[in-house]
């Protein structure tokens, strides 16, 4: 134990004597959170649209006015040919073109179906599907108002016009369906995985590069004392990072922590432990600091971003990728983070991913100890 603490104290001194790296380790995670948090946004903020009004009647104009008055819908201009959509979409000028056919008012007044075509730019499928739903709802609502006014003017009771079933969705946990609320807990997982693995990727191979490895190799220190001793100060540092990014998520993106802060901290310590152990493992097997850092980056960044459920749901993946996702500590952590931060659940709900993550962390620590060789 004394040797372990001596190693931990020595590593702490290394950290404190290198204030620039220390500052980077504390500031970079928050910086990455801001960068990704602001850059990645699937929200549909505004829908610039054009109109091809071939009917040009009082009703068609009222329909367009009604759509234009909806928040976020911005009417660009009127055109007289539906083919204008290609040109507008090519220039990224509009997201939607609303085409009102000739005879719209007439059909409406005679009680027939009065179709309105909405052309959507589908080059970005996720934005397009949101825009399509949004446009459809808006145009339908505006149309309903037209019909109601028409009915009122003819003295028909409104109750006959309203749909029999009125669906009123109520969204829990993220009522405004903001991307950030979904993204930030996952982003915290991705950033911590990346940073923590990078932090420790140099700590063993550095001793070899600087010659101090021989001092350790000739001493009676055991691989276990050395690896765990090196892990401890970085565990404290990475836990500070957890606090920083969670607080930054609250301040900058309004992601409130609904669950227990202590639970979140406990789960996070085990998670960063796994990333730190992975960095240490690479540090034991790679010949230079640069290679160890590169490997840490490659082994954490890509799989974590793609497979951990950070942006793409694990349950939509093919079977084999789901299995890969299960061995990534971030998959379990991100699931738990969403549960704790957004839903405020406790250990009684998340014990399964928690145990899985503990097992992964343990395996990685043991692997580092085993792969550490005291010979040159």
């Amino acid at each position: 134990m004394r040797r372990l603490l001596a190693v931990a104290r020595k590593e702490t001194l290394h950290l404190l004597r290198d204030p620039r790296s220390l500052a980077a380790a504390l500031v970079l995670p928050v910086g990455l959170l801001l960068l990704y948090g602001y850059a990645v946004n699937f929200d549909l903020e505004e829908v610039p649209f054009a109109v091809v009004d071939l009917d040009d009647t009082k009703s068609s104009r009222r329909l367009i006015e009604a759509v234009d008055s909806v928040h976020g819908f911005i009417l660009l201009d009127h055109y007289y040919d539906a083919d204008i959509a290609h040109e507008l979409f090519a220039r990224d000028a509009a997201m939607a073109v609303i085409v009102v056919d000739r005879g719209f008012e007439q059909k409406l007044k005679s009680g027939q179906e009065a179709p309105v075509q909405v052309i959507i730019d589908g080059s970005n499928s996720s934005l397009a599907s949101t825009a399509a739903t949004y446009c459809q709802a808006t145009v339908e609502q505006a149309g309903r108002r037209l019909i109601r006014d028409e009915a009122l003017s003819k003295g028909i009771p409104i109750s006959l016009l309203e749909p029999a079933i009125d669906v009123r969705p109520r969204v829990l946990y993220n009522p405004d369906l903001k991307t950030q609320v979904f993204l930030v807990p996952g982003l915290i997982g991705v950033i911590l995985m990346l940073m923590a693995a990078l932090l420790t990727s140099g700590v063993v191979v550095r001793e070899k590069e600087r010659g101090s490895f021989e001092l350790l190799a000739a001493s009676p220190v055991s691989p276990r004392e050395l690896i765990v001793g090196k892990l401890l100060p970085y565990l404290v540092l990475a836990t500070l990072d957890v606090v920083f990014v969670v607080v930054a998520g609250r301040i900058f993106f309004g992601v409130e922590l609904q669950g227990s802060p202590l639970l979140l901290l406990g789960v996070s310590v085990v998670f960063v432990g796994s990333a730190l152990a992975l960095g240490l493992l690479f540090s034991c097997i790679m010949p230079t600091q640069q290679l160890a850092m590169l490997l840490s980056f490659l082994a954490t960044a890509m799989p974590t971003m793609l497979l951990s459920g950070f942006a793409f749901p694990v349950r939509n993946m093919p079977w084999i990728l789901q299995q890969v996702a299960m061995i990534l500590p971030a998959t379990h952590y991100i699931a738990m983070m969403r549960a704790i931060i957004l839903k405020g659940v406790g250990m009684d709900i998340i014990w399964r991913p928690f145990l899985a993550m503990c097992a992964i962390t343990l395996v990685l620590v043991v692997a580092s100890v085993r792969r550490f060789s005291k010979t040159l």
């Binding site: 020595k10 001194l13 290394h14 004597r17 600087r210 001092l215 005291k374 010979t375 040159l376």
Partner: protein
Amino acid sequence: MSGDDLAVRTEDLSKRFGETVAVDGVSLEIPVGDVFGLIGPDGAGKTTFMRLISGVMRADSGQAMIAGEDVIADPEAVKQRMGYLSQAFSLYADLSIEENIDFCGDLYLMPRDEVQRMKEEMLELTDLLRFRKRLVGRLSGGMKQKVGLICALINRPQVLILDEPTTGVDPISRRDFWRIISQLPEQGVTVVLCSPYMDEAARCRHLAMISRGRILAEGTPEEMRQKVAGTVLEVTADDVRAASRALSDLSSVRRVTPFGDALHVQVEEGREAVSEVRRALGEAGVDEDEIHEMVPSLEDAFMDIVTRGDRVA
């Protein structure tokens, strides 16, 4: 000699790196309390041998017993009772002298008050006390090596292994260094060091000469000098290079080594050698100032043994 009196015993110890045989079947016996020097040119296998016996590197074959422990079977067993100072700087540059020493004390689980006392004493002895808070990275090469020596001694080792401890070290630090080393045998500490320096070799009680991974000769420095075949003449001449050319071709001359403004000429045993040398110099038109027979230096012995050894190989 019985096993109990031996601090180090190796048998047929070998290590190869690819095609190169760095240590080639080395068998050595080093008694307790000895100051043993392994002498050889760069690349002879000195550092590899030191690493093998200190358990820092695994041998390919052979045996090595240090302080009664089998280093090959269990490299960890002896580490508590062994001190090792590598040739390359192995301290932490961003830690102070004291922090480095304290860290080593902790690694060997030495009582804190004893570490404290030894640290004071050794820093005083090596004139480093006033730099105790200074980062090791900001020390001179000699000071670094002295701190390294203190760290290697902090666990009161029975066997101290020093790999070229004074290479690149200023003369004053070197003196401090040897002041500590020469005290060790009386405390029962066995010192095993390697060095390319002959003056350092002369301070050892026993020597072994190594070249291309093989031990070529063993003995006290005195015995080593006597191993030189033939007689060594010191020739002082105006034109040393011309004299060297004139003598190199003589059949009775084994080797000519320049030594400052003189030549060390190693010749076959016998009286007629001096007259033959004199005659050859006369024929070449070189004015010789002085020719006299001399006690071979360790360097002569070293050169002779290494060239003969290489010729056999």
